[in-house]
Amino acid sequence: MEFLLEINVEEMPSSHVRSALADLQEKFSRELAAAKIPVGVLRSYSTCRRLIILADMAPGQEDREEIVTGPPKAAAFAADGSPTPAALGFAKSKGIPVSELQVITTDRGEYVGFKKIEKGQSGADILVRIIPQILSSLSFPKMMRWGEGSLRFSRPIRNIFCLFGEKPLTFSLDGLTSHNATMGHKLLAPQKIEARNFQEYKDALQEKRVIIDEAERKQLILGQIESHLAPLNAQLYPDPELLAKLANDVEYPYVFMGSFPEGYLNLPLEILSTAMREGQKLFSVVKGKKQLPFFLGVADSPADPKGFIQKGNERVLKARLEDARFFWEQDLKTSLKKRAPKLKLVLFQEKLGSYDDKVQRLKKLTAYLCAKTEVAKIEKDVVQAAELSKVDLLTDMVREFPGLQGKVGGLYAKAEGLPATVAQAIYEHYQPVGLEDEPPSTTAGALLSLADKLDSIVGVVGVGIQMTGSSDPFGLRRNAQGVCKIILERKLNLSFLRLLDKVCAVYGDKLKRPKEEVIDYCREFFLNRLRSIFDKWGFRYDLVNAALGVGIDNLYYSYLRLKALDSLKSSPQFEPMILMAKRVHNIIGGQPPGAMNADLFEEKGERELYSTFSIIKENVTPMLAKGDFSQAQKIIFRIQPSLNNFFDHVLVMAKETKLRKNRLALLQAISKILNQIADYSQVVVEGEKPNNKR
């Protein structure tokens, strides 16, 4: 039977619509499953004003048959077949005529009884109960109340349309009563619509200027855009977020094209496209990398019969571009360097001081990073970029378009004629924003970005601001992901703990927590970020544990360790070697470290292991130092036959203390080398008994 629900709401943000639909579907399925009503197809549709659920479901619960037994047959009927008082009493107590009693054969013998039919509840009864509950339980990133109602929702609910099996389904929610009527487009066709089923509903709305399928609206928008652009041989400056927002925000899309005076084209593309997108939600038009003096907008309308929509938007855009040009010219009158001292007046964080303080720290950190990553020749440029990186916060352009921070600074630096390295580093130093975003394209940009992000993380942790649950008030998780991404993709080989130490040292006494505590917290924090990145990249969790289990002094090396493990994981030597490594790990567990004396090896097995190990160690030591864990691991794995032989023929726990300690010391030395690659004890081998401890 068809169930159709439309919640009519005042304009909701697209993020709210998306989460509400998912939530609505999920809760609807769960509640109906709990009520034992099978649901076939379940679909959802939406506009910014409508949340719609369509389901094909059973008309109600199935009737349930229950067998109720009474006295044994022998006690129920007299010899003449007439019912005894026992049978009469039973029938009376159950409220049925005695004539309906039947003989029922059970494992225990024959009894009298009857089949009781428990009527299933109708779908309508159940829906009327659960739908208001579900709607009251939907949650949104920000909730509101309206009028004198008690419900909290994304925006005020104004009508509820609900059908079940072609009939209106009536329930109440916060003063509204559901019925079989809704309304067409609020502005274009605000007439009442009645419908008996989904097809009628959809067609009637279409006629009244509402397309309920977001995917369909998106296709319409793209099609119309294409028909505007094809004759110009031009392309859309891609903006999937804007497209998704507009597909949500209009019920009947109409794409209009407009133009602006070519004089504005000397503004950078970043600024033009932002000015268009932020206020009026307009798309930019490009030909290759060149911006064209056109824009595309999406109206909630079937057409622009008098050209008012296009002309109005052109007028508003011209004013905005005029503003942007004014900002651009005004800002350029004062060089970044000359503006920089005013950073003292801009607060970075209450306990951590101004952006000028931050910039002074970034200069030191970038110098340190240049030295540690051996790019001394760009040090001057990176430090200069650091010095100017935050100055754009003082410009009118960034005050107008905060999302362009960094980029604006880079563009101004370039326009001022500063070295390209400096300008580019400033331009991209906020990147990557999130794991999907590209890290900076240049070394200078990458080092500045690292310094900036680590400075923020250490500072916030250092003054004792706690991150709880999903809250990430200073974007620290995103910043930490950015740090990991830059280090891994740039293959930066540097001691992370020493870097953290340096960041703390540069802060000096500004940090309220002890340095050790801050570093410990950050190490744990980054360990978790790395784990989630590796997890997202699809690595086996136990290999991740093994690679991270030996510490994260060098984030890039952690990644190489993991890749080494991953590359050998399917080779035939892998599992036997893991088991062997675990055996070594278990035997030496809890033993005090001892010194090895080659002269004390008596038996052939141990002499042989010692000499194999010595050769391997000599070979792999330089590889480990370089971070070539793959090659080192391949070579170390060659120890396996000797190790195997050793365990088969030599008694480690010899009675004589000297011999025993010496053998343990040999195994400790082997374990030490293994541990330079990974903590193999964390690798899970198939068929292995859990807690395989000796």
């Binding site: 502005l187 309308s301 929509i309 109005g312 938007n313 508003v316 007046l345 801009v346």
Partner: protein
């Protein structure tokens, strides 16, 4: 339609909806929301309907009369209705139609834009209303003011009068607007914008502004003590205006800005708390 006719049409429309027509408030405010006709009246439980023009000062927006659409003082048309009616969007749309705008020829959109004022501890949920890409109104369901949860929920509609008039006259420059048939916006306001921009950005004496702020703050605290909440709130409005002037003068040190906002908010929250307690007494 001239600007004064626009004002008269809106006054007619909203008084027809039952709104009381309030005079503009006689202190410098940043927005119509800040005047007592909105601030106090949304706090209690009684129904309230009001409409008024409010001159609104934003010293940092001054452009010496040189920018065709930015002003350090502009005019808002403020409407408050409590509780918010179920058909308020339709009423608003009818209001636009009553100005002679045929919406079938235009693109009217309610675009997500929640509102917040940390200075008076207030926030609400709603939209900026866009007409062919031009923001002509703010439409907000208040949820909190003076740090107090509000109930019943009022709706606030604020028209930017210059914006709307630019739309109606299809003009690109505010100063070209007609105030009346024979007086232009330039005639009335150009000199004022020039002089006040110079005052706001260059001539206001920072030391005196700090002193005024301090004195007004003290006075507010004193008046709160005496349970004179309306005068106390006036003092907070003065604080807010001196704060805005200091901002335009670029006079804030690192922590000062945050601190001063917090100072005003603390006073306003205290006023709101006392006001609601007094009103709830039998």
């Amino acid at each position: 339609m001239s600007l004064q006719n626009l004002v008269m049409s809106l006054q007619k429309f909203w008084t027809d909806q039952g709104c009381y027509l309030a005079p503009s408030y006689d202190l410098e405010v940043g927005a119509g929301t800040m005047t007592p006709d909105t601030f106090f009246r949304v706090l209690d439980k009684r129904p309230w309907k009001v409409a008024y023009v409010q001159p609104s000062r934003r010293p940092t927006d001054g452009r010496f009369g040189q920018n065709p659409h930015r002003l350090q003082k502009h005019y808002q048309f403020q409407v408050i209705i409590k509780p918010s009616p179920a058909d308020i969007q339709k009423i608003y749309i009818d209001g636009l139609a009553s100005l002679g705008i045929n919406l079938a020829d235009h693109d009217l959109r309610f675009d997500e834009d929640d509102w917040e004022s940390p200075t008076i501890g207030a926030w609400g949920v709603g939209w900026q209303v866009m007409l062919d890409g031009l923001e002509i109104s703010q439409f907000t369901y208040f949820q909190q003011a003076g740090g107090v949860e509000i109930f019943p929920i009022p709706v606030e509609i604020t028209y930017g009068l210059e914006r709307l008039e630019m739309f109606l006259e299809e003009k690109d420059n505010i100063y070209d607007l007609k105030w009346s048939e024979d007086v232009s916006y330039r005639d009335l306001r150009f000199e004022e914008e020039k002089e006040f921009s110079e005052y706001n950005f260059n001539q206001a004496t920072v030391k005196s502004l700090r002193k005024y702020f301090e004195l007004s703050e003290k006075e507010a605290a004193h008046l709160i003590e005496k349970n004179l909440l309306l005068p106390a709130y006036d003092m907070c409005l003065k604080c807010s205006h001196f704060f805005n002037l200091l901002d335009a003068r670029g006079a804030f040190s690192v922590t000062e800005r945050v601190k001063m906002i917090a100072q005003i908010r603390a006073l306003v929250n205290e006023i709101a708390r006392k006001y609601t307690t007094n009103r709830e007494k039998p």
